[in-house]
Symmetry: C2
Subunit: 421 residues, 2 copies
């Protein structure tokens, strides 16, 4: 017997039929003797409809009223899910965030969870009831409904799992797990049985849009084991993990220690439409980087890779960074009109780059991953424009037209291809 | 300066544009120096959509979950209304029923309001804020959301008005007041400037579907003056009452004492598709009427007019009553299969009746209204099948094909026709 928190996203509860399908997954877990709590998103499309109305009412609106309106979507799903479960003979009741309560700060529209009182949920679960909780929302110190920002339901699920001491948090979504790379680019991509939190964080931020970064961070901090699995699977099929052993049919995101044999490289990710900008002859003095990136932050431009080289002459340096192609023009303008906050000799740049990264906790103990990556790309005649590295990741910026070739080559090179394909 | 509670029904908040139109009415009242609180319904169609999903999830569902789902509709309107008001420079914030709080009993789906704590609303209104409150809902002693049943928003508005000691409760709807009769039947029908609570109750229950009976009853009990007015009027037009004097453009429902010159007959109402059933030779003993109508109540059949005559022989009696045409067959079957609970000699009946009523508090002090009504009908050759009377109302059942003729004739006979038409 385990204690499990399960979470269903918008496409998994898009209509009553899908809600019923989701309920069958829950029923299976209950009948296996588990204690289960459920966290639900709004029916897909509903949140956007509500946001549309809010913006139509006034482009400049009170964030507290935005939250009151938008949070109603999950309330509907939670009630419908409780009804669907009851109808199948599973004792269930719905909880709005304020009824649990899920206490947050008062940053409306982007609230952070401060505390979840587990008393009510705990006593329900112990007596065989399934609490169905609205994701994405809580209650502020001023008794107003708050929302956590888009994708916040994953965070709600992890926070509930941490609060009730769950053994596992199952994220049911429209994909069946985390892959070694995008299967549309590499048909031989493999679904992973396990991945570490750290790797998942790098994968998530690098473009594998399966889990919200914030939810993974929280899961890592509270050591909540996550699985990513599909709500579209047959609820009554045998539960088989991707490696063929009995278990959760999906990818387990867990502590590194749980993963016996660590891959040097676990996955290859790709982000396209990256523009690079180089500032040459930047006065090399303390605070200059802060001034440059502060200017971009003021404009709301998110910078991705940053590389700074030591200058030849010891007095000036070159700084290169990437932004989304769509932000390129604004970024250039912001740097040129900097009001004397920093000086540079020359600005150059171009759109149409692709960032290819290899990720793996094994890199820590295995020297030479970066150099082998560069060699693998060189063998295919792919020129590297920019390199950044972290402890468990190496990223390169290349020309966009080589992106798929690079991903396929690296996937094969690091032995990630499925054997049977 | 006055303290006013205003309520907008579903068609008055059907989309963001209409919500904005409603907000302009509120703004006018605020700018006139009034303290205003707002009660809103769900956007029209939304409640039915939510109920549809609930029924799709399970025909037999927990009423508490039904309430959690269905109550979300008003939450959306309240937030949008607060945003629309703020955008016009009117300080506003939304309140869900549980935030006020509006305490109810735990009869989910048909809850009764037990108590409204006026503290928060009162302090907001005193400082120039406009609270926007979700109609139709409250919170149970078990911290669950309750709903009041269809049309409950009128009741919410009256209850809020009573709690904050409002001078007036304005019900904005899709009609511009209460008429002496249905203007589609009698083009010369007049919009009333004032009507007493008692008359409104009779009018409401007799088919003038402007206000919920329950709301009128509560208004009468707490002496809350109601107005019925149209949200589709130009919010910036001069405020002129139906009698041409400055005032609320609509009908004021108030205590009888406020109405100086009492009409003998204030209105004529019509309800069609009434079937009559007669039981002849009913054993005349205590409890027999209770047995007969108890049998119908068990089947959920609502009985309207009831007439019992003294029996000729002193041992048996005849009982006649009406039910909606659509319930006729079920009613007959229920009476025939009564399991020996009561006895009668013969059952007869027919569909296709029309109930025509004249209503007026003036009847109390003015003898002969009933007889003059019968004479007016006889003059047109209309046969009366059944008669019932109350203190301020006389109703007759006639053949449906004479319905419009009867209403027109009585409307003219009692001097209700508009002069200028």
């Amino acid at each position: 017997m385990a204690r499990i928190v399960v979470k269903f996203g918008g496409t998994s509860v898009a209509n009553v039929e899908r809600i019923r399908q989701a309920a069958r997954h829950i029923k299976r877990e209950v009948e296996a003797g588990n204690e289960v709590a459920v966290v639900v998103s709004a029916m897909s499309g509903k949140t956007n409809e509500l946001i549309g109305w809010v913006n139509e009412a006034s482009a400049l609106h009170d964030a507290r009223e935005y939250d009151a309106v938008v949070a109603s979507g999950e309330q509907v799903t939670a009630g419908l899910m409780a009804i669907a479960l009851s109808q199948m003979g599973v004792q269930a009741r719905s909880y709005a965030g304020w009824q649990v309560p899920i206490r947050t700060d008062d940053s409306h529209g982007a609230a952070r969870i401060a505390e979840i009182d587990p008393t009510e949920l705990d006593s329900r679960m112990k007596t065989g009831w399934v609490p169905v909780i609205t994701g994405f929302q809580g209650i502020s110190p001023h008794n107003r409904i708050t929302t956590l920002g888009r994708g916040g339901s994953d965070t709600s699920a992890v926070a509930v799992a941490a609060a009730v001491g769950a053994d596992r948090c199952d994220i049911y979504t429209d994909v069946d797990g985390v892959y070694t790379t995008d299967p549309r680019i590499v048909p031989r991509a493999q679904r992973m049985t396990k991945i570490s939190f750290e790797e998942m964080l790098e994968m998530a931020s690098l473009g594998a849009k399966v889990l919200m970064i914030r939810a993974v961070e929280m899961a890592m901090a509270h050591k909540v084991r996550l699985t990513v699995r599909s709500s579209f699977d047959d609820p009554d099929a045998p539960q088989i993990a991707p490696d063929g052993t009995p278990g959760v049919p999906g990818t387990l995101v867990c502590d590194e220690d749980e993963i016996m044999e660590k891959q040097i490289v676990s996955g290859v990710t790709l982000a396209k439409a990256e523009a690079k900008i180089t500032l040459r002859g930047v006065k090399d003095k303390p605070g200059v980087a802060a001034a440059i990136f502060g200017r971009l932050a003021d404009e709301g431009i998110v910078v991705d890779m940053i590389v700074q080289n030591v200058a030849d002459d010891g007095a000036t340096t070159d700084i290169t960074f990437t932004v989304p192609d769509s932000e390129y023009d604004r970024a250039v303008k912001a740097l040129e009109d900097n009001g004397g906050r920093f000086e540079y000799a020359r600005l150059s740049g171009s759109k149409g780059g692709a960032k290819v990264s290899v990720v793996g906790v094994g890199m820590r103990s295995h020297a030479g991953v970066a150099s082998s990556m560069f060699k693998a790309l060189a063998d295919k005649g792919i020129n590297i424009q920019l390199i950044t590295t972290s402890e468990i990741k190496t990223s390169v910026l290349i020309e966009e037209e080589y992106a798929e070739l690079a991903v396929r080559s690296l996937h094969t090179y690091y032995g990630l291809d499925r054997r049977d394909a």
